[in-house]
Amino acid sequence: MKNLNEQQQKKKNTRLAIALGAFALLVLVTSFPFWQAVLVEISKSN
């Protein structure tokens, strides 16, 4: 880890946090249609 000043550190932290938050939202949004497809797939009888 490089020594960052407080300002840079804060910016870096906020950026990563926003990225992770966006990722969580993406998971939330995709979960709606995705699961219906999974359901159709695995309940097909062979």
């Binding site: 880890m1 906020t14 990563l16 992770l20 938050g21 939330l28 709606f32 699961w35 359901l39 309940s43």
Partner: protein
Amino acid sequence: MSTYAAEHHHDDHVPTGWRRWVFSTNHKDIGTLYLLFALCMLFLGGASAMLIRAELFQPGIQLLHPDLYNNLVTNHALIMIFGAVMPAAAGLANWMIPLMIGAPDMALPRMNNLSFWILPAAATMLILSFVVPFFPGGGSQINTGWTLYPPLSLQVGMSMDFLIFAIHLLGISSVLASINIIVTLFNMRAPGMTLMQMPMFCWTWLVTAFLLILVVPVLAGGVTMLLFDRHFGTSFFDAAGGGDPVLFQHLFWFFGHPEVYVLLLPSIGVLAHVIPTFSRKPLFGYKSMVGSMLAVATIGMVVWAHHQYTIGMSLGAVTYFMIGTIIISIPVGLMIFNFIATMWRGSMTFETPMLFAVAIILMFTFGGLSGVMLAVVPADMQYHDSMFVVAHFHYVLMPGAVFGLFAGVFYWLPKWTGHMYDEVLAKWFFWINVIGFNITFFPQHFLGLAGMPRRIVDYNVMFTEFNVVSSIGAIIFGLSHLLLLYIVIKTIRGGKKADAKVWEGAHGLEWHLDSPPAFHSWSTAPKAIELTDTYEKPQ
């Protein structure tokens, strides 16, 4: 031992009064808040468990209306999982992660405050979902169990809406806390500490946090779809409108199975510190620990339907889920073997945290074995929804999550409070607690195998004896927690002064700070020499 922070008391402004807690951005105070909250919830959830066991003491319906019984079963699980275990683990994370990686605080202190203070609101919602039906016009009680399966959950009254909002709030809190932990571990490590040099507790929380942001949104999506089905005319899960209730089961267990690792992993992290400390040996197989944890998390994401073998999946699907589930026992076993190898030929002593650690290894493995039984599809057709399942998950959750947290609390309590806890009382607590636990849950294996279903208020007289034993065990087990409470309060209020390095065999940055550490610790990064004090190098 003098520390940097101790030499610089002048920048140590400790706010006072209620503002200190409500507006706190200090990781130690927020950690304390999380832990106290979890303790309250442990007693609330425990009270509901005691009522359940009181009712099951005899066949027939004695104390509780069947609806109330089901409501209690639902609330017990939700309160224990979301109110007790997860917040307690988050409390340990808040307290210890910055101390362990040499960071002055969590990366996002204000968000940290928010993550905690959402919890009391969520708990209020959760408790309301339990009590609302008792008021006129409050609708029916929640009788679905914590899994909230439709169509039942579509038929429950407004208490289900309170519960859905509680889950939304709890989910937001967990995701925010996870983001905070990931950012802290990625960005705030002391200069010179690489990821592969992080203390194992930090690793377990890193994996846990990623699991949480991957699965909690799916649960949130699922319960939101429930909410829409209930009020806005959609039919995601309503067969009458062309929906499919089984879809909810997939959504729920896609969250639910990884959730068990969320409950387990932080406690595994605690063991990875406790066992080396009291074996006076470095942790065996650091890299394989990290590797198996990543394997557990990855495979754990794709085995969810072992909770739904009986829904009529295709043969290919059940076979896949069975094999996947059984494969997970390999990396989990590896972690256990690493712990055993760490103890092997160590000069072990058995202070309370270590007693819990050894008990965990024995009993968690036992729960893992019944898990493998349940993973086998044809066998699970018999075991499913029986008390055997209840016995199984209590044998994994109680040692794997709760006892691990107890071990962590005893291990770090002297660090937090500056006082040693009463070792004699703590050992008493350990023995009563562990014996009480086994008396409560061991007979439930037999009950399940003999055919007693779970989540039913009444049972056939042939099940009486084991239920009596189980309920007596529950009284011992439940009451033992009063002793825990007493020990904790006693330690907070005083006791033998703890050294900076509380345990002779302990390693890591946190032991280079005073006990208790100053309000602001690691304001300057740890020195290189302190960074070399890890479990990993030979001593």
